[in-house]
Symmetry: C2
Subunit: 366 residues, 2 copies
């Protein structure tokens, strides 16, 4: 371990949590204030308004105190009743999470699966919906964080719109990294979280909800309270939160939105696209293979070279070289590693990751 | 508004969020690290172990990313099935919240009510349980934050233990303020949150769960996912979190626990008791009436003097004098105001509150 590694915090290049810029950390370290005040309502109102440019929607964006999975569950419990038929697109750990949540609420889950590293295609969704015309909700993923694969949400949106179901998209890692046009693509519900492209610590999650989905919400009978949209909707009339919000994270979010709006969301997508392209190019130059066939701009998954222990590769890079990459999750454990390139990550960060990666592979090669 | 008020943040004396000590804010502003690492597991393990001294239990304490209400819902969804008969003790807004959550899960709620400012007594609980011997869970509150009333949980514990139900206690504002002996008093489940006696920003909530409650958990059929104890139990085996935890708050919590253990939980209770007694004495000296007959050491509720507008009193003190007190909630709106005395609040803070209170009452008196 070099002196730099001992004294500096690790360079964090995991697909969430991601690096939080120092000036955002400073804002969150300001003394706390109470949330039943004009000060908090003004903060929440301005966040709600500016979120529209990030989600590309004119619809409401609800804010939950909780991790991304809480907002995923909100997207199940708020739009379904036990026994409802829903279609889940699965090609990795987070598609599987949609399935697990839907099952825990007693839904009738129709599962469309693709292999890890692949995506479910729009024609497959079309076929499934024609075969099961009573499907009320389609659960999809923008960037499947576990594999770095990007679903074609625009085309899936066209297919779902024809059939009358609502389309729910997990954009937890995809938001502010991969292009997502909620209103223009006919996406009804977008789920996201604070600790990815929005470069905050974990603790907030978000749900953007269309008018069509809100109508469905009023008929949905799954039991719910903390994540019940009716509670948030009532509070929103006065720019209030129904339950004590994570105030320090909300203050950080205000600063993050200032930064994103300064660049513009198109500029943020371009930046992620450039870094993703750079990462893919550099990885290939090292003779390594990319894992996802249709890669996301949020995170790049790379196959662990044959003969190498993937777990050891990631832990040596983390503990001895000062760079935290992500290993594979679930059945991908030891087989891939992942490099994120959203939020505050820079080209210099990617250069450092590639350099320690090359060095470590040389050292560990049998 | 004085110069001091314009340049300094408000003195926060609300019953949550409460003041966060500057050194805790600094710890939370350190660069973030990843949670699937030995570093996070060591942090979580040490927090889990030290929590036992705060909850006075040898049982598990589960940590959720979310507000206190999420952990309240976890204490319903994890121990009940639709149609179960439960007993809810209600004497304010947060007792009513137990009722609302239980109803949203289709439970058969038996409600024992006392007026605002009062408490439900142990003999009343005894009678109700004898009348309804199939009650499986009793939902109670340590400090009813909306009125500042303290329930006699020790005696209620003895009553419930005889009947075989489990006892769940909302100690969101009571923990680390009012004495609570989870194991010795036979409390099965304790709910708490980060932004009260634990002097952190909002965003974490906690559930301490007895062996008896965990047995009940395995039979409970309410649908759940994000707050399902089975997910947390599995992850706990490796000191992992099932879903991305609020890492910066966990780092803050580590520091808070260091402070609390240094003083000892008995010392923390004594400090809150002294400040509560001081607050009650000073308030009475101003000729004001206390609201709760059995007052908590977490928060003191005071009746708004006749002829005064309670809402205006609180907003003038907040906006012109730099001290944030809490007004009344729900049906208590405008009728009471509340002063907290837990966490990092000092005698000097109470002096300042009493002084601006006296001054403002003089100014506003007709």
């Amino acid at each position: 371990m070099t002196l730099e590694n001992m004294t500096k915090p690790n360079l964090l290049l995991t697909p969430g949590p991601t690096q939080v810029p120092p000036e955002i950390l400073r804002v969150m370290a300001e003394p706390i204030f109470h949330h039943r005040t004009p000060q908090y309502r003004a903060l929440f109102k301005s966040i709600s308004e500016d979120f529209k440019a990030v989600f590309r929607t004119d619809e409401r964006v609800y804010v939950f105190t909780g991790s991304g999975t809480l907002a995923m569950e909100a997207a199940v419990a708020n739009f379904c009743s036990a026994g409802d038929q829903v279609l889940v697109l699965e090609a990795g750990k987070f598609g599987e999470r949609w399935h697990a949540i839907a099952e825990s609420y007693g839904l009738n889950v129709i599962s469309l699966k693709a292999g890890y590293g692949e995506v479910v295609t729009p024609p497959e969704v079309d076929d499934a919906l024609k075969k099961h015309p009573t499907v009320s909700v389609v659960y999809a993923t923008l960037c499947e964080t576990s594999t770095g694969a990007l679903f074609d949400i625009e085309a899936i949106g066209r297919v779902v719109l024809k059939m009358g179901a609502i389309l729910v998209v997990d954009a937890i890692s995809g938001l502010a990294a991969d292009r997502l046009e909620m209103d223009a693509w006919g996406v009804d519900v977008v789920v996201s979280g604070s600790q990815k492209g929005l470069m905050l610590p974990p603790g907030l999650s978000f749900l953007a909800v269309s008018e069509k989905a809100r109508t469905l919400n009023r008929k949905a009978k799954c039991p719910r309270f903390y994540l019940d949209l009716a509670n948030y909707e009532r509070a929103l009339r006065n720019w209030d939160a129904p339950f004590t919000p994570a105030i320090s994270l909300m203050c950080g979010l205000r600063e993050v939105l200032n930064r994103i709006l300064e660049t513009g969301i198109e500029g943020v997508w371009d930046q992620a696209a450039r870094l993703a392209e750079k990462t893919r190019t550099e990885v290939r130059k090292l003779g390594l293979d990319l894992f996802a066939r249709r890669p996301s701009n949020a995170v790049t998954a790379v196959k662990v070279p044959q003969g190498l222990d993937g777990g050891r590769l990631v832990s040596v890079i983390r503990d001895e070289k000062g760079v935290t990459l992500a290993g594979g999750q679930g059945e991908m454990k030891g087989k891939i590693f992942r490099i994120a390139h959203f939020g505050a990550i820079t080209a210099r960060d990617i250069d450092r990751a590639i350099s320690v990666l090359a060095e470590t592979i040389r050292e560990l090669k049998p």
